[in-house]
Assembly symmetry: C2
């Protein structure tokens, strides 16, 4: 039998906002600790939604695969985020695959407990609704951007968001906190790794970013934000 997990693990999270300690303890009582190695999936698209999770440490990406086998990155999961809550929305199967992009630790609960959570404390439903509502707005933003913006704007915006969510201030600049490839960014923005590579090269040239293998550091956030808002880069004539 595992020892009781500390309430402090989840007390500060949005999802457990305004919950009495008793409810938190009750939840932790039945939580399973779930360790994921780099590249390991918490669950796969199409599987029955047997569990839902809270990420404690690490980073995951949520991907959908098209019928043709292309991948699309739906979002990145940061520490403190809930994921795998398909069952809370009355869907019996996971709509996407969620894989760790680095070693990660999550808490997991059986989906069946969801109804218990809610009847024990209706705030769970309210908080879940807020979480899903926020995601819906984010999704609509992406639809708007994919529909109306050019590739450079979208890639710039994606990187700005990543620095907002997972930026780590270093003496060099703002480092994106987890391993991410050109391919990943391409799958977030609806383009190809080639185009992302060219953009990053151009930006490196102009001193906006510095990057390496699975690693991006933002040197000039403001200029990236300008690009994300549609400003045109300085074209060298000729």
């Amino acid at each position: 039998m595992s020892k009781q997990l500390s309430r402090s693990l989840i007390k500060k999270l949005d999802f457990f906002k305004a919950m009495p300690d008793a409810a938190l303890d009750a939840a932790l009582e039945i939580a399973q600790v779930c360790r994921l190695a780099d590249g390991e999936a918490a669950f796969h698209q199409g599987e029955p939604a047997t569990q839902f999770f809270v990420l404690l440490h690490g980073h995951l990406k949520v991907v959908q695969v098209t019928p043709e086998g292309e991948q699309v990155v739906v979002r990145y999961v940061n520490p403190g985020d809930v994921f795998g809550i398909a069952r809370a929305m009355q869907r019996s199967h996971y709509p996407a695959t969620t894989v760790a992009v680095q070693e990660s630790i999550a808490l997991a609960w059986p989906s069946a407990e969801w109804d218990e959570f809610i009847s024990g404390n209706p705030l769970f439903a309210v908080n879940a609704l807020q979480t899903v509502g926020q995601r819906l707005q984010d999704a609509h933003s992406r639809i708007r951007e994919l529909s109306t913006e050019e590739v450079e704007q979208r890639v710039a915006r994606a990187i700005v968001r990543l620095t907002d969510e997972s930026g780590e201030k270093t003496d060099e600049g703002i480092l994106i906190n987890f391993p991410i490839t050109r391919q990943d960014i391409a799958e977030m923005t609806g383009t190809t790794l080639h185009t992302v590579s060219r953009l990053l090269s151009a930006w490196k040239e102009r001193g906006l970013v510095s990057s390496g293998r699975k690693r991006i550091v933002v040197l000039d956030v403001n200029e990236l934000i300008r690009l994300a808002e549609g400003a045109h880069p300085i074209k060298t004539p000729g």
Copy 2:
């Protein structure tokens, strides 16, 4: 004082699924009837979310405007759908504008009543979560399609969906049940009215659709579905 509205107006709707009659009557007791003329907005993007609605009759479209003034159609609202539930997701302002594309009738409740609804009957929260969850999945589908598919597929799929949601069988074929322009379809699929017009012309040529001003009739759904799934149209050589 207005007379009590009939329970039958909402009893069958997903959003009120499994609700006891008493709860339905209580809701109807405070509902306002809201009539919208063609082109009139139920609310505008950025306004405080003072009300939420159920559409009884007609059709609305939900649009977001980009900073540059371009429009994107987020979705169409069909009879029986709820809309304007920003407040239920804890957002104080509407994230999009919702306008009638034909004369419409809706029921409206003050947003402040939402908390009453929930505390009176927790099923409201569960049903709302399901509704928003479905929309989130739809949004992710659109992101996947915008990221990976070509324009012809996306337009074909948009039209197939419209016929599923609002198709009316006529002796000619399946008529999309409300006025819709090339521009509208362009704003749903991230393309231009010119490209939509060219596609519809080509499809008309091949006998797949028949269309006129603000009017589309689908003659061969199966072929449209094939196109939506990525099948290539027959190219005339030369």
